[in-house]
């Protein structure tokens, strides 16, 4: 859990300057780090298969499967994360706060709708949408826009709309594709408005978190005589390190969950109109696959699960999974992240379960 501590400490330091004592527990932290290092070293030794007693061979196999699944997620997500980091870097360099202010609608509703559709212009999936949203908000975009963008962009972008159509038009028809798009926009806008106007949005805390990061960013690079590409890459470095740590943690958690809790155990759990929705939402979180390809995975559930449950998988999965939930903590205060997760889970479940019940599936 040391990454959370890490984050807590940094936030705490900022808060500390306002007179609140940071809750640091050095002994516990040192123990956690030592345990983490010991686990990794043990895993590396058993996984390497060098001088490992034959009793451990099944564990070696397990570990290698874990590493294969981890690399599957890590390698698959890395190009998309880098794309998001570069988009964010480009926004940093080329979009001035003035220009942004002029483009964004004044009303909260307008900003939320714009945020939910912005993915059509910046085609990023969940790994890329968070750095991009963070940068937009640093440039002065309202929180409603940021939240709507983070939730909707992984689905509302050309690549994902095409892949969904390719996968589903022949099986469940265009209406299913329209449902995925419509429901995503609806939920993203609803949550953005809800959080934007209530205290859960915590606008000041977000501003504090963002300005703290901004401070980190300005340590190196200010060489304005650099070429455009070097500038773009220079800004990307810090952002990459901040986001990729969550990719590593999220990837390892998802791989560990998959190795310990077999996916079939989940899919065997429930077929009813209610349970099937919950099961596929849990599966979406555990699998942590990119929204550009989740349609093809969902395709293998057609026939086993009701369309409402498939929709829950395809709408909730891109909004929240293990790695994106962790990444969100870089952009929003933890309170907002928790509210975001609960609200999107609740809304997706409520709507898709109703669909299943009304549809009689």
């Amino acid at each position: 859990m040391c990454w959370l501590k890490e984050h807590e400490v940094r936030v705490a330091e900022t808060v500390g300057s306002f007179g609140i004592k940071p809750p640091v527990m050095p002994v516990l932290r040192r123990f956690a780090v030592a345990a983490g290092v010991a686990t990794v070293v043990a895993a590396l030794w058993v996984g390497s298969g060098l001088l490992v007693p034959s009793d451990f061979v099944p564990i070696t196999d397990r570990l290698r499967s874990f590493v294969t699944i981890f690399f599957g997620i890590f390698v698959e997500a890395l190009p998309f994360l880098l794309a998001g980091v570069l988009v964010s870097s480009a926004i940093h360099l080329y979009v001035t706060p003035d220009r942004l202010q002029r483009m964004i609608p004044r009303s909260a509703f307008g900003a939320a709708v714009m945020g939910s559709l912005l993915g059509l212009a910046f085609p990023v999936c969940e790994c890329g949408s968070i750095p991009a949203a963070r940068r937009l908000m640093q440039k002065g975009a309202p929180q409603t826009l940021g939240i709507a963008f983070v939730l909707a962009a992984p689905v509302i972008n050309p690549i994902v709309i095409i892949s969904t159509s390719v996968a589903f038009v022949g099986v469940l028809g265009w209406s299913f594709v329209a449902w995925r798009i419509g429901l995503t926009i609806l939920i993203a806008v609803a949550i953005a408005l809800l959080l934007g106007v209530t205290r859960f949005g915590a606008g000041e805390a977000t501003a504090l978190l963002l300005s703290n990061h901004e401070h980190d960013h300005d340590h190196h690079h200010g060489d304005s005589d650099d070429g455009a590409i070097m500038q773009l890459l220079g800004h990307a470095s810090n952002e990459f390190f901040e986001m990729s740590k969550f990719l590593v943690i999220g990837g390892m958690l998802a791989a560990a969950l998959q190795t310990l809790v077999p996916p079939t155990m989940l899919t065997n759990l429930g077929q009813g109109p209610v349970l099937s929705v919950l099961v596929l939402m849990a599966l979406a979180v555990v699998l942590s696959i990119c929204s550009t390809v989740d349609s093809f995975v969902a395709l293998s559930f057609v026939g086993t699960f009701a369309p409402g449950a498939l929709l829950a998988f395809l709408v909730f999965g891109p909004m929240i999974d293990i790695k994106s939930a962790l990444m969100l903590t870089t952009t929003f205060p933890r309170r907002t992240v928790v509210a975001l997760i609960c609200l999107s889970a609740g809304l997706v479940a409520a709507i898709t379960i109703t669909m299943n019940l009304v549809g009689g599936a």
Partner: protein, 244 residues
């Protein structure tokens, strides 16, 4: 950069140095995996180009970061240790643990035995020539009620899988189906019937020839291969099957 000070006289900016090394190593690791052909163990081959581009971008970011290795005012290293340690993990995993595709040990958790191995698979069948069908094609045929007549020729490649569950016995020839990356892999396979099927060890790759028959597993009838011959083969370049 301050042009009046030689870079070598400046103190080392440790965060920049460490980040440069991590970026280079991650990029090189991905490139070497692509060159050795083991990327196919992790992801669908259509993403290989994308990963190579990502590796080049990582090296590019590393290059731009390298210029800050000597700086007048070094950045503080405090508080960054965890991030660096975390990014070291994939590098260590990738270099010290031999790359291995998913095998029989995880298959048990990714299939539903009792019914057909592979659950529901969808898609078009390539042709009526069942001898050219892959294990995925057989799974598609059985889960969409297009199972051919008994006695149809079977010729498939896969690895040996012997479930160790209490209620299931027997030997399967199996294969993983991957639509994106190893995280979404699901297993497909057919049980082997006949004397040729005994004495095979888990995870060894085989080509099985025979004809379609039926067997009862977990109380339900399901298709199986009446084995005529089993030939050991080497692991294919692409160990997984991919939906069309």
């Amino acid at each position: 950069m301050n042009s009046t000070v030689e870079a070598e006289q400046l103190p080392i900016n440790w965060p920049a140095l460490i980040e440069t090394v991590l970026l280079f190593l991650t990029g090189v690791l991905l490139l070497s995996k692509a060159l050795r052909g083991v990327l196919a163990f992790y992801i669908h081959p259509r993403y290989t180009t994308l990963v190579i581009i990502a590796a080049v971008v990582l090296v590019g970011i590393g290059l731009s970061r390298m210029r800050a290795v000597f700086a007048e005012r070094p950045e503080p290293l405090r508080g960054r240790g965890t991030v660096y340690a975390l990014l070291l993990i994939p590098i260590l995993f990738g270099t010290l643990i031999p790359a291995q595709p998913l095998g029989s040990d995880t298959l048990m958790s990714r299939v539903t035995l009792g019914s057909t191995l592979g659950g529901v698979q969808r898609g078009d069948l390539p042709s009526d020539d069942t001898a050219s069908w892959s294990l995925l094609d057989w799974a598609i045929a059985t889960s969409t009620d297009r199972t051919p007549v008994l006695g149809s020729p079977v010729r498939v490649e896969g690895f040996v899988f012997q479930p160790n569950a209490a209620d299931t016995t027997g030997v399967y020839v199996a294969r993983y189906v991957v639509s994106c990356c190893a995280a979404d892999a699901s297993g497909v396979g057919l049980p082997l019937i006949g004397a040729e099927a005994s004495g095979l060890s888990n995870d060894s790759w085989i080509r099985v020839e025979g004809e379609l028959t039926q067997t009862t597993i977990g109380g339900t009838q399901q298709p199986a291969i009446l084995v005529r011959s089993v030939t050991p083969i080497s692991q294919p370049v692409n160990p997984y099957l991919y939906p069309r």
